[in-house]
Amino acid sequence: MRNSQSTASAGCTEMAAAGIKLHPSCRARQERFGLLFYDCRGPRLLFAETGTLLPADFYGTVRSRDEFPAGTSDSAKKALQKFVTQLLEKGFLREQ
């Protein structure tokens, strides 16, 4: 899984928060390659080659960092955990 990063610096994130959610200034949608994230504050785009691993609305509700869609393999979970960290650093997700 790869992502083509957009711009701007990351916000520092605490790892022990109750859950994570899409930032209110951000949106996500499914594309052929995976998920397209949009941040109107830049505006910034993030193209993520997630395929169909994550539904676009998955982080529309608060999730724990280790929570992934049912049936996600262990290897995919590892990749997604890294991806979630990147999304937090880039401000597309935020901790609640």
């Binding site: 083509s4 711009t7 949106r27 499914q30 390659f33």
Partner: protein
């Protein structure tokens, strides 16, 4: 690079320009759509609200409202509210003359809106020569009202021969008012075509602006699909025209085009009164041609990786050929200046 994802084809635009009316209370000499009187048979309120629903279903993230002057439409705030109710982000391009404290208070109650106020000079006389007497002062008052709220606000300036020397002062003005500056390229469409020779920046002005922009990190430029700083554009890895790939344009009468600068029959992708938004986005031959557009004549240029041939709309308006590369690109500016110098020496 992000270009490869874009070239795979997006399921819908990331954002789009929606010119909600052609009506305008100003007659700016560079207006890209020759706004003034409303267009015949503009979309009704019901049609506009239906379009908002379609944009939501399509997954469009942001709508950039323009015109004409959007606030002239009595139902504009209703259209805006419908976008916000569906989570669609909005940006309004306004001339600032219809911005009242009451309207600002209403707009500020929603966090999904951003506003650009047009201002075409740091000096009153420069701006008013392009936009009309008294507009500078009115627009400044509008910016002050907006800057006092949480609404992300910017001054939008179209770079012309007349205001090129004032751009740094525009930057200072924007800062002093607590808003950002966005500088748009002047393109020869609408009344801008009629006044092209008078208003077009010279090659030395364009090069000087390019240098200044590179050194002015927080100034945004408005290309065909985004408003970005130089650093953001490089970081994003998007350096190709976004028309029909990441963005598109909806006219006041529901016609769809690749971008706001190509609103003519030749480039009509469809009409929302006869086809759905998604059908037009997916099936338009015009859109397909823009997605497949490759400016081969520019491929040997040292700047090709930075611009991919530049703006097809400028190429069309000046050379009637969208395949020919941007006739006003920076590389051609350099060549043009060198040619002029050689001619002067020879004389």
């Amino acid at each position: 690079m992000s270009n490869k994802y874009v070239e795979m084809g997006m399921r819908s635009p990331v954002n789009l320009t929606w010119e909600v009316t052609q009506a305008c209370n100003l007659r700016c000499s560079h207006c890209l759509s020759s706004s003034g009187d409303p267009a015949h048979n503009e979309l009704s309120t019901a049609e506009a609200l239906d379009l908002v629903e379609q944009l939501h279903t399509a997954g469009v993230f942001q709508v950039n409202f323009g015109g004409g002057e959007p606030f002239i439409r009595p139902d504009f705030e209703e259209i805006l509210a419908a976008c916000h109710a569906r989570g669609i982000m909005t940006c309004i391009s306004t001339n600032g003359t219809l911005i009242s404290p009451e309207r600002v208070a209403r707009l500020a109650s929603n966090r999904l809106v951003a506003i650009q106020v047009s201002l075409d000079g740091a000096k009153r006389e420069t701006c008013d020569a392009i936009r009309g007497n008294g507009v500078f002062d009115t627009a400044i008052e509008a910016v002050k009202l907006l800057a006092a709220t949480s609404i992300p606000t910017s001054i939008n300036t179209v770079l012309t021969a007349q205001n090129a020397a004032e751009i740094p002062a525009m930057h200072d003005l924007a800062r002093s008012l607590g808003v950002s500056l966005r500088v748009s390229r002047f393109r020869p469409s609408g009344r801008g075509a009629d006044n092209w020779e008078t208003l077009r920046p010279s090659p030395p002005q364009l090069l000087a602006f390019s240098d200044w922009l590179a050194a002015s990190g927080d100034v945004r430029t408005g290309d065909s699909f985004f408003s970005l700083t130089t650093q953001e554009r490089q970081g994003l890895g998007l350096n190709l025209c976004g028309a029909a790939k990441l963005t598109c344009c909806v006219s006041p009468t529901g016609h769809m085009y690749p971008c706001a600068f190509l609103q003519s029959d030749r480039f009509e992708a469809g009409n929302l009164r006869t086809s759905s938004f998604q059908e037009i986005w997916d099936r338009s031959e015009i859109y397909a041609s823009f997605r497949n557009l490759r400016i081969h004549s520019c491929e040997e240029c040292q700047r090709f990786d930075q611009c991919h041939g530049g703006c097809p709309a400028v190429a069309w308006h000046l050379k009637n050929d969208i395949n020919g590369g941007d006739p006003e690109c920076l590389e051609r500016c350099v060549t043009s200046i060198a040619d002029a110098n050689r001619t002067a020496v020879a004389a």
